[in-house]
Amino acid sequence: MSWMKREKQPNAPYDGDKRILFPFDAHGLAPSALDAALRLARSQGGTLVPVFLARVPRQLPIDAALPRQSQLAVPMQDAVEQRAAEYDVPVDSRIERGRSYRHALRLTIQSERFDMIVLAAAAGQGPGFNAGDVAWLLANAPGEIVVLRPAPTSVIAGG
């Protein structure tokens, strides 16, 4: 597992309760990255904010209901909360939508309070964010950012 870390910006939002953002999408999430995020949340007495990023196809209105992606998001959010319960870490789940995953990510960092983002970089065809999204996030998101490279074969997927 490799990781990069950026220094926390002085103006990053922080109100006493550390909030660790953990974005993922319909392609699944890497258990190793989730565990890392949970360990960080536990060590800092913080809250994990798992964010499912939903992609709205161009032909649909941006606020359209997304039943197929909901079928993936709901079990994944449940799985994250189950894992968080094992770590005794509080969870405050989110779903954010956008025309692309990066768009949804941008809206997430605009609308959410957070101190740190933990995300998995894609390994091969596995889940996670591609190099372009990671670079964009490092350049644009405030707060600490931890990028993890997950094991390529291990995935929590929705149903």
Partner: protein, 381 residues
């Protein structure tokens, strides 16, 4: 190359006959002239199962040394080289010993399907990832080997192999499931009528949910089931004809998302609309507004309707909304413990709603997250 066809035989527990049924159907396919092989079979020393496998080609297993022992795993490379038309693979949720191409057998199966080979496989319902918590709560036993729900959802066919809990216990007692020395421990632990009945219900619901999922139209460009040959029936009008409508009663706090997700799952099974209600006594605080916004986004993605009503009496407002919107099913979080005097002075919200709305089903959604238990505010009475 077209992806192979995947048929999964789902059961409530070991011994219901999944492997037997898979072999039976494999034999039938072989009889029609198809090239059918057994990629991996876990006969569990069951003579009837072994007999059913006779005549089918069983591919050699791959031996691996693991912690000083020799274990045998399915030989993925051997299957791909042999390239049969149909491959029978037992125990989809199995975790491979280290040293193979993949960590989990379902990943091996994915490679077999990608090679254009049809696969029949088996799994028990307690292995499903999203049901792990529920099954653990029902049976007191947590299953370590889990299977992502997406694997089941992407299968072309799902066959429920179902027998009554009583019949399964009879089979167990007759030595058809486990060796004699393993029967009593099994009866003392997992194989109890109440456990099996609960698991059977979960399996039946899972199948019903799968049928519902097949009826949903695709609204997204996301290829959930690439290459799937299943028909998609677009019949939402028919789904709603039964007239169920759900209401999730929440307060804006992080645990509300779980209640909404649980309500949405129920609404999907029933083909029903979902409303979400918060009865606000005063202007929301900053924290409540933040949670409300998150709930609004969740509701929007799920296709649910978030309602915020002002009122001092939650039961009265809920009663009004339930009547106006023809609610048939209400879900809410667990009430907080109240003292004896408080209980005497005023019945709980749940009791008041049951009395006021006798035609309504009420479900209390348990909170299983230890950390969240500390933080959930009570619905204001």
């Amino acid at each position: 190359m077209a992806r192979g066809h995947h048929k999964i035989f789902l059961g409530m527990a070991a011994g219901v006959g999944k492997t037997y049924r898979m072999l039976q159907e494999g034999q039938a396919e072989a009889e029609t002239g198809r090239d059918v092989v057994i990629g991996y079979l876990e006969p569990h020393e069951r003579p009837a199962t072994a007999q059913q496998a006779e005549g089918l080609v069983t591919l050699p297993r791959r031996g691996i040394s693991y912690r000083g022992n020799r274990v045998e795993e399915m030989d993925l490379t051997g299957i791909l080289e042999r390239a049969p038309e149909l491959c029978l693979i037992d125990e989809l949720a199995h975790t491979n010993a280290p040293g193979g191409l993949h960590e989990k057998r379902f990943e091996d199966v994915n490679d077999v399907l990608a090679a254009g080979i049809d696969v029949y496989s088996t799994v028990n319902v307690q292995h499903l990832e999203s049901l792990n918590d529920q099954v653990s709560e029902l049976t007191g036993i947590r299953v370590r080997e889990t299977l992502p729900d997406a694997v089941l959802a992407s299968a072309d066919e799902l066959v429920l192999v179902d027998i009554t809990p009583e019949s399964l216990i009879e089979r167990l007692l007759a030595g058809k499931v486990y060796r004699p020395e393993a029967i009593q421990p099994a009866l003392d632990n997992f194989f109890k009528i109440e456990n099996l009945s609960a698991l059977r219900e979960v399996a039946l619901r899972q199948l019903a949910q799968d049928v519902e999922a097949k009826r949903l139209p695709s609204e997204s460009g996301l290829a959930l089931r690439p290459g799937s040959r299943r028909e998609r029936l677009i019949d939402t009008q028919a789904q709603q004809a039964i007239g169920e409508r759900l209401l999730a009663l929440i307060t804006p706090h992080p645990g509300a998302q779980r209640i909404v997700r649980r309500a949405w799952r129920s609404s999907q099974r029933l083909g029903a609309e979902l409303d979400i209600l918060w009865v606000a006594r005063a202007t929301p605080t900053a924290e409540q507004s933040e949670q409300l916004e998150a709930l609004r986004r969740l509701a929007s993605v799920l296709g649910a309707h978030l309602l915020v009503e002002q009122g001092d009496d939650v039961a009265l407002v809920t009663q009004r909304v339930a009547r106006e919107r023809n609610i048939t099913y209400l879900l809410m979080g667990p009430p907080h413990e109240r003292g004896a005097i408080a209980r005497m002075l005023r019945p709980s919200l749940a009791m008041r709603l049951l009395q006021a709305l006798p035609g309504l089903d009420l479900r209390i959604v348990a909170n299983r997250t230890r950390a969240a238990e500390r933080d959930i505010p009570e619905i204001e009475l």
